[in-house]
Amino acid sequence: MARNTLNFLIGLLFLVFSTLTLARGDADRAPLWTELSIPERTALTPIAYDWDHLPAQQRQNLLKITKEFAKLTPTQQQIFYSRLQPWTRMTQAQRDAARDNFKKLQEVPKPEQAQIKRLWTQTVGSESAQFAQPASGQ
C-alpha cells in the first residue's frame, strides 16, 4: 500500500514538473528573425537587427501587430516604419503609459481630440524634437 502510494506520488510529481516545464517553454518561445514569414519580416523590417534581442513577450505582441500591417495604407505603413524602432526601444512602462494616454484620448469626443492633438503639437510637441511628426498620416 505504502509503496503503491509512493509510486503514485512520484509519477504525479513527474507529470506536474514535466507539464510546468513544457508550459514555461511555450511561454518563453518566440520565433527568431530567420523563422519569420515574409509578410512578418516585411512589417518588421525596421527592427530586423533588434528582433532576436527583444524579450519573447514583446516579440509575441509585435507579431500580432504585423497581422494588421497589410491593411494599412502606404502612408500609414511609412509612419509605422518610422515609429517602430523607437517604440521597441521604449521601456515597458513607457509603452503602457502611451497606451493608457492613447485610450484616454480616444474617450474624448472627436472634435476635441483633434484640437488637443493640434495644441499638443503646437505647444509641448514643438519644444522637443522627439515629438516631430514623421509624416502627415490619417
Binding site: T5, V16, T19, E68, F80, R83, A98, R99, F102
Partner: protein, 116 residues
C-alpha cells in the same frame, strides 16, 4: 542460561498460555484479519461518507497534486495583454507619435485641455 534467556522463555510461555485461552470466535476473527493483512486486501471500510473515501491517502495526495498542477499552470499563464494589437497599430500610425503619449505630462495636460 542468562537472565535474558530466562525472561524470553517466561514471556513466550505466558503468551502461549494466553493464546490457548482465547475463545474460538476471537481466534477466527484474528485469523481472518491476519489473512486480510497478508493478502493485501485493501477494501475501504464500509460506509458511504466522505471520510470513508478520504481514508485512502493516495486519492488525497493525487487530488492535491492535481490541484497544484492546475494552480501552477494558471499562474504560469502570461498575464493577458490589456491592449489589443489594434490599439498598438492605431498608436503607431496615429497623428501623434507614441513618444508624445508616453510623456509624463501628457495625461495631466489632457485633463487640463479636454474641458473645452
Amino acid at each position: 542460561m542468562t537472565q535474558h534467556d530466562d525472561f524470553a522463555r517466561r514471556l513466550t510461555a505466558s503468551l502461549d498460555q494466553g493464546l490457548m485461552e482465547i475463545d474460538t470466535s476471537t481466534s477466527q476473527r484474528l485469523a481472518s484479519m491476519r489473512r486480510q493483512a497478508l493478502g493485501g486486501d485493501n477494501r475501504i471500510p464500509a460506509g458511504h461518507s466522505v471520510l470513508a473515501w478520504a481514508s485512502r491517502p493516495a486519492w488525497i495526495a493525487g487530488f492535491l497534486v492535481l490541484a497544484l498542477l492546475l494552480a501552477g499552470w494558471w499562474f504560469m499563464q502570461p498575464a493577458p495583454t490589456p491592449y489589443s494589437a489594434e490599439t498598438d497599430i492605431l498608436l503607431l500610425t496615429g497623428e501623434l507619435p507614441p513618444a508624445a503619449y508616453a510623456d509624463n505630462t501628457f495625461s495631466q495636460w489632457l485633463e487640463t485641455h479636454s474641458t473645452f
